[in-house]
């Protein structure tokens, strides 16, 4: 076991074992993780955080695998977090892709980590955000967060990214289209992968048409890039757009705005968790609590009124 100060020093000095241990503590929602993260916080905010999401089969992992050497050419060090919110029980990460990506972990400049759901969804967005922060303190220049699926859960996870890449493939059906409506609107860059498939140009036109229909005022129009991730076609152009996007964010002042918004959201999430924990710790010690629940289940009391009463009692008792 590493102590608090060993974890802090280890992460700041680039010790991979300390980083891995810290992320495990984050996943376990161990209180030690918060303590360490609080101390690491002032060493963060330097990494460029990139999110990549899109429907299964659109080549996200292959794109990430090809982004690595391209970013390495530019002397960037890289952290990768692969998030799979789809399976709360058995863990459904796509093993093949993970193994392919491990090749790069032989390179000291690249750190790869998979994360699955352990319990509640809200927990996964929180722990992904903390893991990204740990890797930021560890000193990586670029951190890529890749999601396995592309639903609403993924949208909440990917919101921590400064640059969001949304992938798609030619000829995906209408059903899948419906699923993507939400993630379309958070894209900073679109990638149409498998450019060799028929319909690739149509897909690009479709996305551009959709962007034109969107009436929101934009200072940044998301570019649509054709790639063939397996051969590497289009990857240098993607890296160029990623760099242009972060430059745009910095110059326009949007990066600071995003940072402020994220700080607010995170603070409020943390307060929600901590305050609720305090309340529940108090309540679970009281035998009356189980009785109240039993009365709700029997419809003798309603949960809305009981919730108000227990909160009022908690706030009064707290002073005693």
């Amino acid at each position: 076991m590493l102590s608090e100060s060993e974890l802090i020093d280890g992460v700041l000095k680039g010790n991979r074992r300390a980083l891995a241990r810290l992320i495990t503590l984050i996943e376990d929602e161990d209180l030690l993780a918060s303590k360490v993260l609080a101390k690491l916080y002032k060493h963060t905010g330097k990494a460029h955080i990139i999110g990549i999401t899109g429907p299964p089969g659109s080549g996200k992992s292959t794109i990430v695998t090809k982004l690595i050497p391209e970013l390495r050419k530019k002397q960037k060090t890289i952290g990768i977090v692969c998030v799979d919110p789809s399976s709360p029980f058995s863990g459904g990460a796509l093993l093949g892709d993970r193994i392919r990506m491990q090749e790069h972990t032989l390179d000291e400049a690249v750190y790869v980590r998979s994360m699955g759901t352990r319990g509640h969804l809200g927990g996964l967005a929180r722990s992904t955000s903390d893991a990204v922060r740990a890797i930021d303190a560890f000193g990586k220049d670029v951190i890529i967060v890749e999601t396995v699926g592309a639903g609403q859960a993924e949208v909440e996870i990917i919101e921590i990214a400064q640059t969001v890449i949304v992938t798609d493939v030619p000829g995906s059906g209408d059903d899948i289209q419906a699923i993507k409506a939400g993630i379309m609107e958070i894209a900073d860059i679109f990638v149409v992968n498998k450019s060799d498939l028929p319909g690739a140009d149509n897909k690009v036109m479709e996305i551009n048409a959709m962007l034109e229909l969107d009436s929101r005022q934009r200072d940044w129009t998301p570019p649509v890039i054709l790639t063939d991730a397996r051969s590497g076609d289009g990857i240098p152009e993607l890296v160029e757009k990623i760099e242009q996007h972060i430059e745009f964010l910095k110059k326009s002042g949007l990066l600071n705005q995003k940072d402020l918004k994220r700080s607010r959201d995170e603070l409020e999430d943390l307060m929600r968790d901590k305050l609720t924990r305090k309340l529940l710790e108090k309540l679970r010690d009281e035998p009356e609590y189980d009785n109240a629940i039993a009365k709700i289940a029997k419809r003798n009391e309603d949960p809305y009124t009981v919730a108000e009463r227990l909160i009022a009692e908690f706030l009064v008792k707290y002073r005693e």
Copy 2:
């Protein structure tokens, strides 16, 4: 505008306009909705709540459309809630299916309602649960909750159901398979739809094999039913299994256990929301709050420590 008492009386007397209005208030997280639901609560707990989830294209809506006449034959009144967590912005409900289902709304015994995300995911699980409760108080015997996608978000929504049906189709690929790992484990009944497609029997064998591998002790082994929802094949058998499942839950005492667990989860969710709301209302009035956020964004303070401090201050100030 309907008043609180008009909404309560209206819903209890079976007034569809009052019910529709109440569900809109629920979606808007209007405080009036909680007040009305608190009063309606003692009239709930009678409906059998059925959840149906599965990958896009597996025929969920068609199955629900065919379940309606089958349940009507048994003199059951029916409520249907279609939930689409995939699109937080533009609403991605599958219109064609919705329209087909509207045919049944001409029948007074059937009430259909679609719900989309308005903001936070947690909010959708909460508002779906409240909408189901409103329909329960309205007097429907069976309430079917249908999700559009099949990710982790859907698992959280479908957890309110007493009987969970998971749909699948022959020959769905590996990618989709990975997405489903989570929902497989919450199924009480499996439906393999499109029984005319090649591989249907294989799919049934596959699911049965998976169930055998599962080492958990079960008193109920989820049956796997082949359907062809368009022709209606297999639907009567599905209804029979649904009825057997609720009987099993009642006799085994599991229904009461589920009810207790749901009451606890709901109470704790409500307390989390209400307590956090109290805290944020106080904080947002204070100019110091924006300063604290700015310091976090600049890395002059860390969010973990600030969260602890603001909570401690809130709990002390509350008594004043």
